[in-house]
């Protein structure tokens, strides 16, 4: 193939034609955007609050709501007894109670909820609810959970799930190796820290139904679960996922919806709940803390022979999406970018009395990639090769199957990214900066792969609807939630291209469970679903409009869809009829209206494994380490991303850069430490996330070309930028200091201690 794809800088200069502002940016920049927690205008609005457990693990002996109920201004207090339907939820297993009855398993467990005239009265009422507990022994970490004497947190024990994958004979593989490296790794309990915490409002309607206007990631899935909890038929529950202030996976599960719904049913009034940051920390989903042990070996020429990775993931008190995270973690732990004849991955997902872990951008993949890429650097050092050369000798190609022999579709040869990373200007450190008094500079890189879709054969489908409104707007609806990622910008750009219309013709509707079900807004799947839906709808839509136009015009000349209406093929540049005229020319029932539902692309395998649609990234990082304090300043990041065609350049770039800085937070800064099930912090005074002062200069280059025959030129890039950042940063720190941190976050004190120890051990 002489058509070698190249990486192009993703900037205004190179993408001038596609570069435009997101459709919601004026509203947002001028502070006009209304978020779920801004729904304060409802007449008769009540303020809800949820009582959380006082103990990480205890029996509940007695709950007394009477004092709270009699407080003036309190309109309802609800507990498990008030649930008309099932008292449980969870995306995979419904193992989490809406309100606990006899036992609590973590400090975020809900026991009761109050609706009152003001937030102050609701908060005061919570203090009047008397709960008598009998504390039980805590399981404070994942090793404890697996001990034989550990209390069982759930009927089937503390091992929620386990994974085992690979191929070859791992012992025979290691026996053939010339070089073997092994190391323990750990990653933190990262918190999403969406700026808008969990919240929204539940509104009772005249007909006994309930409407939720909330921050969530799937209106349809929330509706299904809420209907079961509330004992209502699905058509009596409507969930509208409003444009929300960040998600990152942390709003995938139900949050405040069940309590708000129960209180709204009980009072007949709209009930608003907005977690404060402390409650969000206490009850919200986190990233799984993972303990890993990895062993990797190669032959004398640097060819990888064997790779083994064992891991334990702390999933906290309830399952949430833990089993799916374990699967994606395991897929990445098998070093999917590299050809290795003998691979063994074993993962254990365990219940503890800690914060519930679940979906978080990267979904276990980035933690595994941290260990795998770190191992390769360590092995390269042992084998006397550069990190890039070791990788080059072992990269899988687009013609190769996946680790488990599954079909997969890489966008291009990973070598292309490796070459671009090697050519990065970041490697050229000004000699004056390399070792500048207190400061040591270093550069490192890592590769990562990321898939689209739920993967592993899980049910995964999407849908859309498209119709011409009476007013002549092209109304295009998806179930996705806009939570900042820019799906509204992607849908607009894709629709203009597929339907030939202009942005002004479009009326884009998102996130309403009364509209089409597009599946969850997760797994970097929305852009793929939107592209597929429009590809499938396009011809039918154009045909219907053109036919309608011809019959209205009584004209047989060829027409095409265009900006503002239908245009003549000949003469060019002459509009035949506007969409408004088309719409007003027919009866309402004859207006073109299409619906579609289809499966997410999972490739040709009967039993799909992993994720079929793959994306690649290389991240190069430059850091400066302070020898006095051990603090790390990330000065530059250079990403080379192969994620298919760039639909909306500022959003693509923003997703890569934002994910990278979020990953930088995990690598250097962020953790929610817990001790015996007790949180050691509860707010942003102690949980620090990167600020503008921490932000590096970033460059994003993209490879849009995909391999010949790939049917999916458009991919979702929401998680790609977090994939390789941690190992790239650790490689840069190693380059600067000689120390390779393997426990994240790599905090200054630990790095300083290691640097000092290394200096003292010098001969």
């Amino acid at each position: 193939m002489n058509n070698v794809p190249t990486a192009v800088p993703l900037d205004q200069k190179h993408f001038a034609e596609r570069w435009n502002a997101r459709p919601d940016s004026t509203e947002k920049a001028y502070g006009l955007q209304q978020y779920p927690t801004d729904e304060l205008h409802w007449p008769g609005l009540l303020h809800g609050r949820i009582l959380r457990s006082a103990w990480p693990h205890a029996h509940i002996l007695h709950i007394d709501l009477s004092q709270a109920r009699s407080l003036p201004g309190v309109r309802a207090v609800v507990c498990a007894e008030d649930i008309p339907g099932t008292n449980s939820y969870g995306i995979i297993f419904r193992d989490q109670p809406v309100f606990c009855t006899d036992r609590v398993r973590f400090l975020g467990d809900a026991i009761a909820a109050v609706a009152a005239d003001s937030p102050e009265i609701a908060a005061h009422a919570l203090t009047l609810i008397k709960v008598v507990y009998e504390p039980l022994p805590n399981i404070g970490d994942s090793q404890q959970a697996l001990a034989s004497a550990a209390p069982r947190l759930h009927p089937d024990g503390n091992l929620l799930d386990s994974s085992r994958l690979g191929h070859g004979d791992i012992d025979a593989g290691f026996a053939q190796c010339s070089y073997i490296v092994d190391r323990r790794y750990s990653t933190p309990r990262q918190m999403h820290v969406f700026m808008e915490t969990e919240g929204g409002v539940a509104i009772p309607e005249q007909d006994g139904s309930l409407t939720f206007r909330v921050g969530c990631q799937s209106g349809h899935r929330d509706r299904d679960q809420l209907a079961d909890i509330l004992g209502l038929p699905q058509h009596k529950v409507r969930v509208i996922g409003l444009s929300t202030g960040g998600g990152f996976g942390g709003k995938d599960e139900l949050t405040m919806q069940p309590a708000a719904g129960l209180l709204a049913l009980k009072t007949g009034r709209p009930v608003r709940i907005h977690y404060d940051r402390q409650e969000s920390t206490r009850a919200g989903i986190k990233r799984h803390p993972i303990q890993m042990f990895a062993r990797t070996g190669c032959d004398a020429e640097g060819r990888l022979i064997a790779h083994q990775l064992h891991a334990v993931l702390d999933t906290g008190a309830y399952a949430s999406l833990g089993p799916a995270v374990l699967t994606n973690f395991s897929d990445h732990a098998a070093a999917p970018l590299y050809r290795i004849p003998h691979v063994e991955v074993q993962g254990q997902l365990v219940y503890t009395n800690n914060s519930v872990a679940g979906a978080f951008r990267g979904f276990g993949g980035n933690q595994a990639t941290f260990a795998v890429e770190s191992q390769l650097d360590k092995l390269a050092l042992a084998a006397g090769l550069s990190p890039a050369e070791l990788r080059r000798r072992n990269l899988r190609t687009p013609d190769d199957d996946g680790v488990e022999g599954q079909s997969q579709q890489m966008p291009c040869h990973p070598n292309t990214l490796l070459n671009a990373a090697i050519a990065s200007p970041l490697w050229q450190i000004n000699p004056a900066d390399a070792e500048h008094g207190r400061w040591l500079s270093g550069v490192g890189m890592a590769l990562g792969a990321q898939g689209n879709g739920l993967g592993n054969g899980l049910p995964d489908s999407g849908g859309a609807s498209l119709r011409l409104t009476k007013q002549g707007h092209i109304q295009l609806a998806f179930g996705f939630i806009e939570y900042g990622q820019g799906v509204v910008a992607a849908v607009q750009a894709l629709a203009c291209e597929a339907l030939g219309c202009s942005a002004e013709d479009l009326d884009i509707r998102l996130g309403d469970s009364d509209g089409p079900d597009s599946g969850p807004t997760s797994a970097s799947r929305s852009t793929v679903i939107a592209t597929e839906a429009l590809r499938r709808l396009r011809d039918d839509w154009q045909q219907q409009l053109i036919q309608l136009g011809k019959s209205l015009l009584g004209d047989h000349r060829a027409l095409c869809t265009g900006a503002g209406g239908l245009w003549y093929d000949e003469p060019k540049g002459k509009r035949a009829i506007s969409y408004q005229a088309l719409a007003s020319g027919v009866k309402d029932l004859s207006l073109p209206a299409l619906k579609i539902h289809f499966d997410f692309p999972t490739g040709p395998d009967a039993q799909p494994k992993g994720r079929y649609l793959q994306l690649l990234i290389a991240t190069v990082a430059r850091v400066r380490v302070d020898r006095f304090t051990g603090s790390v300043k990330v000065s530059h990041l250079h990403h080379i991303a192969a994620g298919g065609k760039v639909i909306h350049p500022p959003s693509y770039r923003g997703q890569i850069e934002g994910a990278a800085v979020m990953g930088m937070g995990m690598a250097l800064l962020e953790d929610v430490p817990m001790h015996n099930g007790e949180y050691q912090l509860d707010n942003l005074d102690a949980y620090l996330i990167p600020t503008l002062a921490d932000a590096p200069a970033q460059q994003v280059d993209v490879i849009e070309t995909i391999v010949a025959g790939d049917q999916y030129p458009v991919r979702g890039i929401g998680e790609l930028g977090i994939e390789a950042i941690s190992p790239a940063l650790m490689a840069a720190i190693q380059d600067a200091t000689g120390i390779r941190p393997c426990d994240l976050p790599a905090r200054p004190a630990a790095l300083l201690a290691a640097m000092t120890a290394a200096e003292e051990n010098l001969p």
């Binding site: 947002k28 304060l40 102050e120 700026m195 850069e657």
Partner: protein, 164 residues
């Protein structure tokens, strides 16, 4: 929290977005609650309630301050301007338009606070340097963007306009 310190036993007079307001509130009622719950001004957002995230930033006598840390008695006789009151002002529009141009926003929840902080800095020092504008951002967190767009905005705003 007990309900006592929020008993409306104080006469509060202050200017909100150019209008003189007189109300009875508890002296310890948070300004953020007065703005959002009592006045229905949802521009300032609640993000942490402890003055760390900056999403609720307003201008108090021209200075950028988190409204979650201000109690009613502290704004007695002062001038409060929220994003709703800034929208029509050219200094704010310059900031907002730059945020749009550089794609410096995603979910946008932090943006009212960020735009308010930048506007205050530029109003106080029309020729603010990049460093001064970066310093003005120290109290504002953004979780979505990684701040690259904001870096561009600051470069853009720190360059004095041609007719200045």
């Amino acid at each position: 929290m007990s309900t006592e310190n929020t008993t409306p036993n104080m006469q509060l007079n202050f200017t909100l977005n150019g209008q003189l307001l007189n109300m009875r509130v508890g002296p310890a009622r948070r300004l953020l609650d007065i703005l959002r719950l009592d006045q229905g001004l949802t521009g300032p957002k609640e993000g942490c309630s402890i003055g760390r995230c900056g999403a609720c930033t307003i201008q108090l006598d021209g200075a950028a301050v988190p409204a979650c840390l201000l109690l009613a008695y502290q704004v007695q006789g002062k001038e409060v301007i929220t994003v709703e009151g800034l929208r029509s002002k050219p200094a704010f529009q310059r900031v907002a338009d730059s945020l749009i141009e550089h794609g410096a926003l995603q979910c946008g929840y932090c943006i009212p606070g960020i735009a308010t902080s930048l506007t205050a800095a530029l109003t106080q020092r029309p020729n603010a340097s990049e460093g001064e504008l970066e310093q003005a951002m120290h109290g504002n967190l953004c979780r979505c963007t990684g701040y690259s767009g904001l870096q561009q905005v600051i470069k853009d705003l720190a360059t004095p306009a041609p007719n200045n």
